[in-house]
Symmetry: C2
Subunit: 287 residues, 2 copies
């Protein structure tokens, strides 16, 4: 059997993964959903043909989008998660005993159902944690109704086209600001700075976040199955600075063991390459 899944990262470069078999293929109201079994990456999920996660490297994305804000804000009790139907963000959040309430707003119930059936490493029993409240709604609309309600918002969106498009708009970031307490933090997946088209999306998202939040920084991780492998996250905050307010002793006191995240790596994740600094500075100065 010589079966390959390929994702074009640009029209001129693609990453291909050998597939053992397809476990699921379906069309939801919102998107095409597929799950594959592969020898290199274990099971992996694609939406509309774009790689969402693989069992081998999802720990990097999920640890980095959750533990970075958790190590900065001293007392996160109420969290809003937009997207995240695969369950990975919820898995990492529910490791913190001091979190009291998690609203997860996923537009597509089929994603959750398929992940529960085929990806138990991310969509596991933590989705049934009594603190987790799943809402099958449009995140864009949900957040419009919230005010001064959350300590942390995690935007675990797909790419800035298709169903996830609205999650990269000025209106959405403004509503997230309003939905957060006065010391709240918003973290979002922020695309890659490397290929031209991704870099433009990244720059555009940063511009809009800078316009909504007083503190806006970008941090990076190595995610081998995402375009270029160099992935960014946005850290937007009303009060806490991602480095000055990092409390290493407090976070290490939680006793959570991670495969990627450490509080030392946390700092390095914000030390981005010169060309990425330039890319972001260009829009910061327009503010």
């Amino acid at each position: 059997m010589d079966l390959w899944f390929s994702e074009h990262h640009t029209p001129n470069v693609k990453l291909s993964i050998r597939v053992d078999r397809q476990l699921y293929a379906g069309q939801s109201e919102f998107q095409r959903i597929d799950v594959f079994e592969s020898p290199e990456f274990g099971r992996f999920l694609t939406l509309d043909g774009y790689m969402m996660l693989t069992e081998k490297d999802e720990f990097i994305y999920h640890e980095m989008i959750v533990h970075v804000p958790m190590a900065v804000h001293p007392n996160i009790k109420k969290v809003l998660v937009i997207g995240a139907g695969d369950g990975g963000v919820i898995r990492e959040l529910t490791r913190y005993d001091h979190i009291e309430h998690i609203d997860m707003v996923e537009i597509d119930p089929d994603v959750v159902e398929v992940c529960r059936a085929y990806l138990p490493k991310t969509a596991g029993p933590w989705l049934d944690d009594p603190r987790v409240h799943i809402h099958y709604e449009d995140g864009l609309k949900f957040v419009r109704t919230c005010e001064d309600a959350y300590d942390l918002i995690i935007v675990d969106s797909t790419d800035p086209f298709g169903p996830g498009e609205g999650l990269f708009t000025r209106e959405f970031y403004g509503n997230c600001y309003k939905a957060l307490h006065e010391d709240g933090i918003m973290v979002n997946q922020h695309e890659s700075p490397f290929y031209d088209e991704d870099a433009i999306a990244c720059q555009r998202a940063h511009k809009r976040i800078v316009e909504s939040f007083p503190i806006s920084r970008v941090y990076q991780a190595h995610i081998p199955t995402y375009p270029s492998g160099h992935w960014l996250f946005g850290f937007a905050s009303k009060k806490y600075h991602p480095l000055k307010d990092l409390d290493e002793a407090r976070w290490n006191g939680y006793g959570l063991s991670c495969k990627y995240y450490t509080t030392t790596l946390h700092k390095g994740a914000f030390y981005i390459p010169a060309y990425v600094e330039e890319l972001l500075k260009d829009v910061e100065s327009e503010r």
Copy 2:
């Protein structure tokens, strides 16, 4: 025209790059050499079918292998470069006025000739800098004859199989130690920690370096066209610590502008993920 170059990063994953045309194909005494023109990455060089550099992302590798040691050691005058036939390391080194002498030991004269003809962005006029002395010899043999001769050795090798194999041996690292002054530094390309086979090569190289040098650390960069995009370099040193002896003010005083390297990023490059720390610790404790 639908022409693609592919590199298998493991038998089960491959990166493919659309090719506009092949500029060169030849067999030297040591290896197959090819140069391609591509819409995404500009020109790129492969040896035995393995990606060596592309015009779009070579700056990351070359800046990181050169500027990290240059920002740590206060007075590097004499440098030995093993490999580096593409000229990229020499380009970055010759930007420092205080370097007096560079020995470049490349086993394959054809690589230099082909790069001079087709890759002028790396094999440019700096190869004719009077401080640069090119030796077409086996680096393994060359370094055996040296003692207390260099401030810095840069091992810009191919992978640990084929012509580059000897450059990952205990004997070679021991000879590099001997070839360095009492405060010398050796930096080498150190493979990737992500895919199993690469991780083993990486671990093995680290074990051998730890056995030869009192200070041995690993640092990382995002290199999109290398396997997994997460690439490591080894920093081995007799005296200087890569972070404690980093002199940011001195390096910034040189006024070199880089696209990837900054002295802030320098620090973050050593803040490696938990699983990579584990991988290296395993062999450090065997020492």
